[in-house]
Protein backbone atom coordinates (compact mmCIF):
# COMPACT_ATOMS: atom_id res chain seq x y z
CA UNK A 1 0.00 0.00 0.00
CA UNK A 2 2.50 2.60 1.16
CA UNK A 3 4.89 1.24 -1.45
CA UNK A 4 2.69 2.61 -4.24
CA UNK A 5 4.97 4.55 -6.50
CA UNK A 6 3.97 7.27 -8.86
CA UNK A 7 5.61 6.41 -12.14
CA UNK A 8 6.03 9.33 -14.46
CA UNK A 9 5.23 12.95 -13.95
CA UNK A 10 1.95 14.25 -12.67
CA UNK A 11 -0.16 15.73 -15.46
CA UNK A 12 0.64 19.27 -16.40
CA UNK A 13 -1.74 21.64 -18.11
CA UNK A 14 0.23 21.30 -21.32
CA UNK A 15 -0.20 17.56 -21.33
CA UNK A 16 -3.93 17.90 -20.73
CA UNK A 17 -4.29 20.06 -23.81
CA UNK A 18 -3.35 17.13 -25.98
CA UNK A 19 -5.82 14.63 -24.55
CA UNK A 20 -8.67 15.86 -26.74
CA UNK A 21 -11.33 16.42 -24.11
CA UNK A 22 -14.25 18.72 -24.79
CA UNK A 23 -12.93 22.11 -23.65
CA UNK A 24 -14.65 24.13 -26.31
CA UNK A 25 -18.26 25.15 -25.71
CA UNK A 26 -18.94 25.91 -29.35
CA UNK A 27 -20.96 22.77 -30.20
CA UNK A 28 -24.28 24.57 -30.65
CA UNK A 29 -25.88 23.00 -27.57
CA UNK A 30 -27.26 25.13 -24.76
CA UNK A 31 -25.56 23.23 -21.94
CA UNK A 32 -26.85 25.46 -19.18
CA UNK A 33 -30.39 24.71 -20.26
CA UNK A 34 -29.71 21.00 -20.66
CA UNK A 35 -28.13 20.84 -17.20
CA UNK A 36 -31.19 22.58 -15.71
CA UNK A 37 -33.50 20.14 -17.50
CA UNK A 38 -31.47 17.18 -16.28
CA UNK A 39 -31.56 18.46 -12.69
CA UNK A 40 -35.35 18.76 -12.92
CA UNK A 41 -35.53 15.29 -14.46
CA UNK A 42 -33.48 13.70 -11.70
CA UNK A 43 -35.50 15.46 -8.98
CA UNK A 44 -38.69 13.95 -10.43
CA UNK A 45 -37.11 10.52 -10.57
CA UNK A 46 -36.01 10.72 -6.93
CA UNK A 47 -39.64 10.51 -5.87
CA UNK A 48 -40.41 6.80 -6.07
CA UNK A 49 -36.84 5.81 -6.76
CA UNK A 50 -36.52 2.10 -7.63
CA UNK A 51 -33.59 2.08 -5.17
CA UNK A 52 -36.28 1.74 -2.50
CA UNK A 53 -37.06 -1.75 -3.80
CA UNK A 54 -33.46 -2.75 -3.10
CA UNK A 55 -33.61 -1.25 0.37
CA UNK A 56 -36.52 -3.59 1.04
CA UNK A 57 -34.52 -6.55 -0.22
CA UNK A 58 -31.49 -5.49 1.77
CA UNK A 59 -33.54 -5.28 4.95
CA UNK A 60 -34.64 -8.87 4.56
CA UNK A 61 -31.04 -9.99 3.92
CA UNK A 62 -29.73 -8.03 6.90
CA UNK A 63 -32.21 -9.55 9.33
CA UNK A 64 -32.15 -13.18 8.10
CA UNK A 65 -29.82 -15.84 9.49
CA UNK A 66 -27.70 -16.84 6.50
CA UNK A 67 -24.48 -18.53 5.45
CA UNK A 68 -22.68 -21.61 6.76
CA UNK A 69 -22.56 -20.06 10.25
CA UNK A 70 -26.30 -19.38 10.12
CA UNK A 71 -26.09 -15.96 11.67
CA UNK A 72 -27.73 -12.67 10.69
CA UNK A 73 -25.81 -9.48 9.99
CA UNK A 74 -28.19 -7.68 12.33
CA UNK A 75 -26.85 -9.72 15.24
CA UNK A 76 -23.19 -9.88 14.19
CA UNK A 77 -22.06 -7.02 11.98
CA UNK A 78 -20.49 -3.89 13.44
CA UNK A 79 -20.39 -1.07 10.90
CA UNK A 80 -18.52 1.20 13.31
CA UNK A 81 -21.40 2.27 15.54
CA UNK A 82 -21.87 -0.99 17.43
CA UNK A 83 -23.11 -4.42 16.39
CA UNK A 84 -26.23 -4.15 14.28
CA UNK A 85 -26.35 -0.35 14.57
CA UNK A 86 -27.37 1.23 11.26
CA UNK A 87 -28.20 4.90 11.88
CA UNK A 88 -25.50 7.12 10.44
CA UNK A 89 -23.11 4.22 9.84
CA UNK A 90 -22.79 4.73 6.06
CA UNK A 91 -21.66 8.35 6.25
CA UNK A 92 -18.97 7.50 8.80
CA UNK A 93 -17.23 5.08 6.44
CA UNK A 94 -14.56 4.55 5.22
CA UNK A 95 -13.12 4.18 8.70
CA UNK A 96 -10.49 2.03 10.41
CA UNK A 97 -11.72 -1.26 11.87
CA UNK A 98 -9.40 -2.74 14.49
CA UNK A 99 -10.84 -6.25 14.18
CA UNK A 100 -9.83 -6.32 10.50
CA UNK A 101 -6.84 -3.98 10.95
CA UNK A 102 -7.91 -2.13 7.82
CA UNK A 103 -9.59 1.03 6.67
CA UNK A 104 -12.78 -0.12 5.01
CA UNK A 105 -15.61 1.46 3.00
CA UNK A 106 -19.21 0.33 3.60
CA UNK A 107 -19.35 -2.32 0.92
CA UNK A 108 -16.00 -3.80 1.86
CA UNK A 109 -17.01 -3.89 5.54
CA UNK A 110 -20.28 -5.69 4.77
CA UNK A 111 -18.39 -8.21 2.63
CA UNK A 112 -16.03 -8.71 5.59
CA UNK A 113 -19.00 -9.32 7.88
CA UNK A 114 -20.46 -11.79 5.38
CA UNK A 115 -17.21 -13.78 5.20
CA UNK A 116 -16.02 -13.52 8.81
CA UNK A 117 -19.37 -13.69 10.62
CA UNK A 118 -21.63 -15.59 8.25
CA UNK A 119 -19.01 -17.86 6.67
CA UNK A 120 -19.55 -16.91 3.03
CA UNK A 121 -16.53 -17.10 0.71
CA UNK A 122 -15.04 -13.91 -0.73
CA UNK A 123 -14.42 -15.72 -4.04
CA UNK A 124 -18.12 -16.50 -4.40
CA UNK A 125 -19.14 -12.89 -3.79
CA UNK A 126 -16.38 -11.51 -6.04
CA UNK A 127 -17.43 -13.73 -8.93
CA UNK A 128 -20.37 -11.43 -9.72
CA UNK A 129 -20.21 -8.52 -7.28
CA UNK A 130 -22.17 -6.02 -9.35
CA UNK A 131 -25.69 -5.95 -10.78
CA UNK A 132 -26.10 -6.93 -14.40
CA UNK A 133 -29.21 -7.51 -16.50
CA UNK A 134 -31.85 -8.90 -14.19
CA UNK A 135 -29.37 -10.00 -11.53
CA UNK A 136 -28.67 -7.93 -8.44
CA UNK A 137 -26.20 -9.46 -5.97
CA UNK A 138 -27.12 -9.62 -2.29
CA UNK A 139 -24.25 -7.32 -1.35
CA UNK A 140 -25.72 -4.52 -3.49
CA UNK A 141 -29.09 -4.72 -1.74
CA UNK A 142 -27.34 -4.79 1.63
CA UNK A 143 -25.26 -1.70 0.83
CA UNK A 144 -28.42 0.08 -0.32
CA UNK A 145 -30.25 -0.85 2.89
CA UNK A 146 -27.36 0.36 5.06
CA UNK A 147 -26.98 3.56 3.03
CA UNK A 148 -30.69 4.28 3.44
CA UNK A 149 -30.09 4.67 7.17
CA UNK A 150 -27.80 7.64 6.52
CA UNK A 151 -30.17 9.59 4.30
CA UNK A 152 -29.69 13.35 4.69
CA UNK A 153 -26.92 12.96 7.25
CA UNK A 154 -23.58 14.73 7.03
CA UNK A 155 -20.55 12.85 5.79
CA UNK A 156 -18.35 12.50 8.88
CA UNK A 157 -15.52 10.06 8.33
CA UNK A 158 -12.88 10.21 11.12
CA UNK A 159 -10.19 12.23 9.32
CA UNK A 160 -8.27 12.77 12.59
CA UNK A 161 -7.66 9.01 12.74
CA UNK A 162 -4.10 8.64 11.38
CA UNK A 163 -5.00 5.47 9.47
CA UNK A 164 -7.89 7.23 7.73
CA UNK A 165 -5.71 10.26 7.01
CA UNK A 166 -3.09 7.99 5.50
CA UNK A 167 -5.73 6.29 3.31
CA UNK A 168 -6.93 9.73 2.16
CA UNK A 169 -3.37 10.74 1.19
CA UNK A 170 -2.85 7.55 -0.80
CA UNK A 171 -6.23 8.05 -2.50
CA UNK A 172 -5.07 11.50 -3.55
CA UNK A 173 -1.87 10.07 -4.99
CA UNK A 174 -3.82 7.48 -6.92
CA UNK A 175 -5.94 10.14 -8.64
CA UNK A 176 -2.73 11.58 -10.09
CA UNK A 177 -1.28 8.21 -11.13
CA UNK A 178 -1.09 7.83 -14.91
CA UNK A 179 -1.23 4.38 -16.42
CA UNK A 180 -2.92 2.22 -19.00
CA UNK A 181 -2.67 2.44 -22.80
CA UNK A 182 -3.97 6.04 -22.84
CA UNK A 183 -1.75 7.18 -19.97
CA UNK A 184 -4.86 8.44 -18.20
CA UNK A 185 -5.08 9.30 -14.52
CA UNK A 186 -8.32 10.06 -12.68
CA UNK A 187 -7.13 13.67 -12.87
CA UNK A 188 -7.07 13.56 -16.66
CA UNK A 189 -10.86 13.87 -16.55
CA UNK A 190 -11.45 14.88 -12.93
CA UNK A 191 -8.50 17.06 -12.05
CA UNK A 192 -9.72 20.49 -13.08
CA UNK A 193 -12.87 22.56 -13.61
CA UNK A 194 -15.06 22.88 -16.65
CA UNK A 195 -14.55 19.51 -18.29
CA UNK A 196 -17.32 17.60 -20.06
CA UNK A 197 -17.74 14.43 -22.09
CA UNK A 198 -20.66 14.86 -24.51
CA UNK A 199 -23.60 15.80 -22.26
CA UNK A 200 -22.05 14.78 -18.95
CA UNK A 201 -20.22 17.33 -16.78
CA UNK A 202 -17.11 15.92 -15.13
CA UNK A 203 -16.70 16.91 -11.47
CA UNK A 204 -13.30 18.17 -10.32
CA UNK A 205 -12.54 15.66 -7.56
CA UNK A 206 -9.78 17.79 -6.03
CA UNK A 207 -12.41 20.30 -4.86
CA UNK A 208 -15.01 19.69 -2.16
CA UNK A 209 -17.82 20.43 -4.59
CA UNK A 210 -16.46 17.95 -7.12
CA UNK A 211 -15.61 15.20 -4.64
CA UNK A 212 -19.12 15.55 -3.20
CA UNK A 213 -20.62 14.97 -6.65
CA UNK A 214 -18.74 11.69 -6.68
CA UNK A 215 -20.22 10.37 -3.45
CA UNK A 216 -23.53 12.04 -2.56
CA UNK A 217 -25.73 9.73 -4.62
CA UNK A 218 -24.13 6.28 -4.50
CA UNK A 219 -25.38 3.63 -4.17
CA UNK A 220 -27.70 4.65 -6.93
CA UNK A 221 -30.29 3.16 -9.26
CA UNK A 222 -28.85 3.60 -12.72
CA UNK A 223 -31.49 4.28 -15.35
CA UNK A 224 -29.19 2.90 -18.04
CA UNK A 225 -29.93 -0.78 -17.70
CA UNK A 226 -32.27 -0.29 -14.76
CA UNK A 227 -29.80 -1.64 -12.18
CA UNK A 228 -28.81 -0.81 -8.61
CA UNK A 229 -25.12 0.07 -8.38
CA UNK A 230 -22.69 1.02 -5.62
CA UNK A 231 -19.63 3.26 -5.38
CA UNK A 232 -17.43 0.16 -5.58
CA UNK A 233 -19.01 -0.40 -9.00
CA UNK A 234 -18.48 3.22 -9.97
CA UNK A 235 -14.76 3.00 -9.23
CA UNK A 236 -14.54 -0.26 -11.14
CA UNK A 237 -16.26 1.36 -14.13
CA UNK A 238 -13.95 4.39 -14.04
CA UNK A 239 -11.00 2.01 -14.32
CA UNK A 240 -12.70 0.39 -17.30
CA UNK A 241 -13.24 3.77 -18.96
CA UNK A 242 -9.56 4.58 -18.49
CA UNK A 243 -8.70 1.26 -20.09
CA UNK A 244 -7.05 0.13 -16.83
CA UNK A 245 -7.27 -3.49 -15.69
CA UNK A 246 -10.21 -3.96 -13.31
CA UNK A 247 -9.34 -3.29 -9.67
CA UNK A 248 -9.69 -6.26 -7.32
CA UNK A 249 -13.16 -6.19 -5.82
CA UNK A 250 -13.29 -4.51 -2.39
CA UNK A 251 -9.52 -3.92 -2.48
CA UNK A 252 -7.35 -1.31 -0.81
CA UNK A 253 -7.07 0.79 -3.97
CA UNK A 254 -10.81 1.31 -4.16
CA UNK A 255 -11.03 2.04 -0.42
CA UNK A 256 -8.31 4.69 -0.73
CA UNK A 257 -10.11 6.43 -3.60
CA UNK A 258 -13.41 6.37 -1.71
CA UNK A 259 -11.67 7.65 1.43
CA UNK A 260 -10.19 10.54 -0.56
CA UNK A 261 -13.54 11.60 -2.04
CA UNK A 262 -15.62 11.03 1.09
CA UNK A 263 -13.12 12.72 3.43
CA UNK A 264 -13.07 15.76 1.17
CA UNK A 265 -16.89 15.79 1.38
CA UNK A 266 -17.05 15.78 5.19
CA UNK A 267 -19.71 18.17 6.45
CA UNK A 268 -21.91 17.90 3.36
CA UNK A 269 -25.17 15.95 3.29
CA UNK A 270 -25.45 12.43 1.91
CA UNK A 271 -28.41 12.34 -0.46
CA UNK A 272 -28.56 8.69 -1.40
CA UNK A 273 -29.62 6.09 -2.16
CA UNK A 274 -29.85 8.04 -5.39
CA UNK A 275 -30.83 7.78 -9.01
CA UNK A 276 -28.26 7.99 -11.75
CA UNK A 277 -28.13 8.27 -15.51
Amino acid sequence: MKQLRIIGAVCTAATLATTGLAFAQSDGVDHAKADAEFAKFRAEMEDSNPAELFELKGEELWKTKRGPKNVSLAESCDLGQGVGKLEGAYVKMPRYFADADKVMDAERRIVWCMTEKQGFKYADIAKQPFAKGNFTPDITSLVTFVAGHSRNMKFAIPMNDPKVKEAWEIGKEITAYRAGPYDFACNTCHGSDGKRIRMQNLPNLSTQEGAYKGVFGWPGYRMTGGVMLTSQWRMNDCFRQQRFPAPKYASDTVTYLLTYMTGTSNGLLYKGPGIKR
Binding site: S48, N49, P50, L53, G226
Partner: protein, 103 residues
Protein backbone atom coordinates in the same frame (compact mmCIF):
# COMPACT_ATOMS: atom_id res chain seq x y z
CA UNK B 1 -44.15 -14.94 -5.39
CA UNK B 2 -43.03 -11.76 -7.13
CA UNK B 3 -41.26 -8.99 -5.21
CA UNK B 4 -43.34 -6.53 -3.16
CA UNK B 5 -44.42 -3.11 -4.42
CA UNK B 6 -44.15 0.14 -2.52
CA UNK B 7 -47.49 1.93 -2.42
CA UNK B 8 -48.13 5.41 -1.10
CA UNK B 9 -51.70 6.75 -0.76
CA UNK B 10 -52.02 10.25 0.62
CA UNK B 11 -54.95 12.63 0.93
CA UNK B 12 -54.24 16.00 -0.69
CA UNK B 13 -57.37 18.02 -0.04
CA UNK B 14 -60.30 15.88 -1.16
CA UNK B 15 -58.22 13.83 -3.58
CA UNK B 16 -56.27 10.71 -2.70
CA UNK B 17 -52.96 10.56 -4.57
CA UNK B 18 -51.78 7.03 -5.14
CA UNK B 19 -48.19 6.35 -6.13
CA UNK B 20 -46.93 2.83 -6.69
CA UNK B 21 -43.42 1.53 -7.39
CA UNK B 22 -43.42 -2.03 -8.76
CA UNK B 23 -40.55 -4.47 -8.98
CA UNK B 24 -40.53 -5.97 -12.47
CA UNK B 25 -37.92 -6.38 -15.26
CA UNK B 26 -40.39 -5.22 -17.96
CA UNK B 27 -38.50 -6.92 -20.78
CA UNK B 28 -39.76 -5.91 -24.20
CA UNK B 29 -38.64 -9.09 -25.88
CA UNK B 30 -36.34 -7.08 -28.15
CA UNK B 31 -33.30 -6.66 -25.91
CA UNK B 32 -30.18 -8.77 -26.41
CA UNK B 33 -28.14 -9.81 -23.41
CA UNK B 34 -24.34 -9.79 -23.04
CA UNK B 35 -24.07 -13.05 -25.00
CA UNK B 36 -26.11 -11.70 -27.89
CA UNK B 37 -29.17 -13.77 -27.04
CA UNK B 38 -32.59 -12.11 -27.22
CA UNK B 39 -34.18 -11.81 -23.79
CA UNK B 40 -37.78 -13.03 -24.04
CA UNK B 41 -40.66 -10.65 -23.35
CA UNK B 42 -41.51 -10.53 -19.66
CA UNK B 43 -43.66 -7.63 -18.65
CA UNK B 44 -46.74 -6.60 -16.73
CA UNK B 45 -49.87 -6.69 -18.88
CA UNK B 46 -52.70 -5.66 -16.57
CA UNK B 47 -52.93 -3.82 -13.30
CA UNK B 48 -55.74 -2.67 -11.06
CA UNK B 49 -56.11 -0.21 -8.23
CA UNK B 50 -58.92 -0.84 -5.77
CA UNK B 51 -60.28 1.40 -3.03
CA UNK B 52 -61.87 -0.56 -0.20
CA UNK B 53 -62.28 -3.51 -2.54
CA UNK B 54 -63.83 -1.56 -5.44
CA UNK B 55 -61.80 -1.20 -8.64
CA UNK B 56 -61.05 2.41 -9.47
CA UNK B 57 -58.35 2.03 -12.12
CA UNK B 58 -57.82 -0.77 -14.63
CA UNK B 59 -54.65 -0.45 -16.62
CA UNK B 60 -52.92 -2.31 -19.41
CA UNK B 61 -49.27 -2.01 -20.31
CA UNK B 62 -46.81 -3.27 -22.86
CA UNK B 63 -43.05 -3.73 -22.61
CA UNK B 64 -42.34 -0.07 -23.28
CA UNK B 65 -43.18 0.94 -19.74
CA UNK B 66 -39.90 1.36 -17.84
CA UNK B 67 -38.33 -1.37 -15.75
CA UNK B 68 -39.42 -1.20 -12.10
CA UNK B 69 -42.44 0.83 -13.15
CA UNK B 70 -43.88 3.75 -11.26
CA UNK B 71 -47.52 4.80 -11.70
CA UNK B 72 -49.49 7.66 -10.20
CA UNK B 73 -53.25 7.98 -9.96
CA UNK B 74 -55.81 10.22 -8.25
CA UNK B 75 -59.05 9.12 -6.61
CA UNK B 76 -61.91 11.21 -5.26
CA UNK B 77 -64.14 9.95 -2.50
CA UNK B 78 -61.37 8.37 -0.44
CA UNK B 79 -60.48 9.28 3.12
CA UNK B 80 -57.71 8.56 5.60
CA UNK B 81 -57.90 5.00 6.86
CA UNK B 82 -59.31 3.58 3.62
CA UNK B 83 -57.56 0.62 2.03
CA UNK B 84 -55.86 0.91 -1.34
CA UNK B 85 -54.83 -2.33 -3.04
CA UNK B 86 -52.75 -2.57 -6.22
CA UNK B 87 -52.50 -5.79 -8.29
CA UNK B 88 -50.68 -6.73 -11.42
CA UNK B 89 -50.48 -9.74 -13.73
CA UNK B 90 -47.70 -10.28 -16.24
CA UNK B 91 -47.44 -12.12 -19.55
CA UNK B 92 -46.16 -15.24 -17.80
CA UNK B 93 -49.15 -15.33 -15.47
CA UNK B 94 -47.06 -14.16 -12.52
CA UNK B 95 -48.93 -11.82 -10.20
CA UNK B 96 -48.63 -9.65 -7.15
CA UNK B 97 -51.02 -7.73 -4.87
CA UNK B 98 -50.05 -5.28 -2.15
CA UNK B 99 -52.10 -3.04 0.05
CA UNK B 100 -51.68 0.16 2.01
CA UNK B 101 -53.77 2.46 4.16
CA UNK B 102 -54.63 5.97 3.00
CA UNK B 103 -52.76 8.53 5.06
Amino acid sequence: MADPMKIRAQMKGDVCEVRVLMSHPMETGQRKDGDGKTVPAHHIQTLTVALNGKTVVSGQTGGSVSRNPVFGFKVKGAKAGDKVAVSWVDNKGDKRTDETTVA
